[in-house]
Amino acid sequence: MLIFQRSVEGRVALGQWVDGDLDLSDLPEAGLRQTKAVLPEVSELQVVRHYTGLSQRNFGIDTHFYPLGSCTMKYNPRGVHEMAMQPQWLSRHPLSAVDDHQSFLKILFELQQYLSDITGMPGVSLTPMAGSQGEFVGVAMIKAYHDANNDTERTEMIVPTAAHGTNPASAVMCGYTVKEIPTGSDGNIDVDQLREMVGPKTAGIMLTNPSTLGIFSRRIKDVSAIIHEAGGLLYYDGANLNAILGKVRPGDMGFDVMHLNLHKTFATPHGGGGPGAGPVAVADRLKPYLPIPTVVFENEKYRWTTKNDSPDSIGRLSCFMGNAAILLRAYLYIRLLGRKGLTRVADFATLNANYIMKRLQQAGFECAFPDRRASHEFVISFKKEKKQWGVSAMDIAKRLLDYGCHAPTTYFPLSIPECFLIEPTETESKQELDHFIDALIKIRGESETDPELVKTSPHTCVVKRLDDVKAVRELNLTWKPTIND
């Protein structure tokens, strides 16, 4: 039932009623609203009960194992959430005087230093609000750099076919033409082909390492040499940073610019699809172009930078300071784990992924790259199962819901048919991993003996399998009182 269907005309949540006589005499009559907005007229209890009820129709990390590849669904510490919800933080206006809020600015300043240390890059701007905005910023800085060198013929951005869809989309937003480079059968980028592909038009390359295939590109330094010799720059997509956190610094691999996904690596809540935060880190040569504002420490005081401080900055990305409270959460998470805890993240994220991969291989599942180590995630393909029993990766994903596991990422990377990208993260125990492995083995058994059971799953969720085609054909994006009731 929708909240609108609980509405009764004239009902008001009186506990939230704001007293006061209105004086609207100065507002022109013709400029006032004449219609009533479709907002529900319900009591406070009805609201609380309705949305508590909706929450119970969700899987979250707090309720289920959530091995969504490339999304790093690790435990989001409750203590961090509580500390970030203090009234002093919540009530701080973004344009209030910096003298009143030195400790908040100090936190952001320190976070800039931490991220610089982790990435091995000297410049950091915290303002991008998500990974995709970080990518846009990174590419825009590459462009600004080439433009400043009067190197305007560089119109191409190289992107692997296996890259996240945001990579090519971000390159296009900056006016670049995307040139795709395929991945070799060993999961590595094809270095010989790359050598032939680069030239005077090459602006740069966008890479993740470990890649979206869950594999560390061993020849990364060759890649970096080829791109740099051609006059291009290297962009690092930080989506997979959890795999190498505190172990390998993208700056040391030769990257010039990168973004970090704080909602992945630094455990800030994903919130049903956001907010995230996608700070960028850069090598010295890109520092002048970092987006504003950043925080500097001068004359014993923290303050924001403006266009006057960095006239070559690519500019501002949001009205204020990005997703400031997410930055605060990431800072608190880093303080809880500390330098030792952070390096152990990569150890155990990698251990958990390799453990599941090995056990599934032993059980006869087909891994995309059986001869390679998994990073923090890996790819398996159900091509065989699809051919033999007609059960697709999507069917198996839906059946996993019945076993109390959120499904891994499905059908990505696009180059592997009928695949799962599985990322367990370091915060899952052996019991959870074993349960997941057992569930997959059972589902494969069901696929053989009773494929319909799998193909019509899920059976235990609040709804049965939903019709996505109908959702597009009979587009219904808003509730209308006359049609739906």
Binding site: N58, S91, F104, A324, R373, V472
Partner: protein, 465 residues
């Protein structure tokens, strides 16, 4: 370390099952010269208990002044239920609802949000949110250019728009060679000068941006601007404060010429803006130093396929029961890659969760009351301040819950003085519009009592004195 559950025994067992002896072996494909376990700038970890203590000590320096700053972020009362329910783990720790059957809570909530927001704006459809207001406007402009199939790449933007929205839009759209043409405001009225607008070339014009209220709090001539845009076959993009729309005419009703024949162009003028976007923060989201907030984007049905961001649609399941799912995904980056409408991947789901609960608690009447009381309190304060010698309103147009005042002495000094009294008296416009002189943008919401206004006026008299 604090959240890794493995015991030593389990670790050993797992390694044995894998045929390994050490975790380090799992990293043997990484060239040894790249491996580097050194984090120098990061301190040793601390327990939750200790970190809370450290934070409490730091928080003692953070002041909590009485806030009269608006300028794009507004302090409204947020009912306790909003964040208590939004902070439930099932909302907080879910991700983008790719597995619809396991995400009906988030999906239904977003569908309800789309309904509320579209209706508040008087538009047909809403997406499931963007990052925040300024970047949402940038996305609206990119969308308008797509509607014109990239053939028109000029956009008129009033100078009365928030200067930081201007900056953000320039950063984002200029990479695609879209030209942003400023339109001056009338220095007496504080709103877009229609004469100046009519002088601007309509060549290659994709859209006209119409802020309501504008940065100065003033009410723009939205009907005339909408009609003008439509006469030039350009889209009218409304960029509005959603709280204001509970009281003021919604973008879907803008324009004065519904169905009228425009003789010059010989076309029928349609009523209503084509896209309405803005900052959703006033609807249940705390100030929080500027974020996370959420941007909203609504439009007419016919432009829905050019929309960026997630969309939720109603559908049915195998048994014919109603359910909700992500839809029109063919617009998005994970399918279309370089041909997507936008690179946007996330939305601001958690903030939209809060806003949906907030709008439900307020209802249509309660929301109007919040807007009305905010405006009434602002008017009370402004009326008292302009009685002080030398203090005057800068612009003569009606305003909504925010107003520009000129002061007879240095505005920054007055603000510093007021700050000593524990009052953030507003925003100095010196950095934003130096040509206006010593001006203050002051904003009052329903959270301020008459006693608060007394304290403000007393302090103001003293520091001006």
């Amino acid at each position: 370390m604090p959240f890794i559950p493995h015991t030593n025994e389990e670790l050993k067992q797992m390694l044995t099952d894998m045929g390994e002896t050490h975790v380090a072996a799992l990293f043997d494909e990484i060239p040894a010269d790249l491996l580097n376990d050194r984090l120098e700038a990061i301190p040793e970890g601390v327990s939750e208990m200790r970190l809370k203590r450290l934070l409490t000590e730091q928080l003692a320096d953070e002041k909590m002044p009485l806030c009269f700053i608006g300028a794009g972020a507004y302090e409204h009362h947020i009912p306790s239920a909003v964040w208590q329910v939004a902070s439930r783990g099932e909302f907080l720790t879910a991700y983008t609802p790719y597995q619809a059957e396991a995400s009906q809570g988030t999906l239904q909530l977003l569908y309800e949000y789309q309904t509320m927001m579209a209706s508040l704006m008087g538009m047909d459809v809403s997406n499931a949110s963007l990052y925040e207001g300024a970047s949402a406007l940038a996305e609206a402009i990119l969308m308008a250019v797509r509607v014109h199939k990239g053939q028109r790449k000029r956009v008129i933007i009033p100078r009365s728009l928030h200067p930081y929205y201007w900056d953000t839009v320039k950063t984002i759209v200029s990479e695609q060679k879209i030209e942003c043409v400023p339109c001056d405001f009338d220095p007496q009225a504080g709103v877009t000068d229609l004469g100046a607008l009519s002088q601007l070339s309509d060549e290659n014009l994709a859209a006209v941006v119409i802020p309501q209220p504008n940065f100065f709090g003033c009410l723009e001539p939205v009907d005339e601007m909408t009609d003008w845009a439509h006469q030039k076959n350009a889209l009218a993009i409304a960029c509005v404060n959603p709280m204001a729309m509970a009281l003021l005419k919604e973008p879907g009703q803008w324009g004065s010429a519904d169905g009228e024949i425009d003789r010059e162009a010989n076309t029928r003028l349609e009523i209503g803006a084509d896209i309405a976007c803005g900052e959703g923060q006033p609807l249940g989201v705390p100030l929080n130093s500027g974020g996370p907030y959420f941007g909203f984007l609504t439009c007419r049905q016919k432009f829905v396929r050019q929309m960026p961001g997630r969309l939720i649609g109603q559908t049915t399941d195998l048994d014919g029961c109603v359910g909700y799912t992500l839809t029109l995904q063919a617009r998005e980056q994970h399918i279309r890659r370089s041909k997507a409408t936008s690179n946007i991947c996330t939305n601001q789901g958690l903030l939209v969760t809060a806003a949906t609960i907030y709008m439900s608690l307020m209802g249509p009447v309660g929301l109007r009351q919040v807007a009305g009381v905010s405006h009434t309190q602002t008017k009370k304060l402004v009326d008292r301040l302009i009685e002080i010698d030398g203090v005057e309103r800068v612009f003569d147009r009606p305003f909504f819950h925010e107003c520009v005042l000129r002061l007879p002495r240095d505005v920054d000094e007055v603000l510093r003085g007021m700050s000593l009294d524990g009052i953030q008296a507003g925003l100095s416009l010196k950095d934003y519009f130096p040509e206006l002189g010593d001006c203050l943008l002051v904003c009052v919401t329903e959270t301020k009592t008459d006693q608060d206004l007394d304290v403000f006026v007393d302090g103001f008299c003293r520091w001006l004195g």
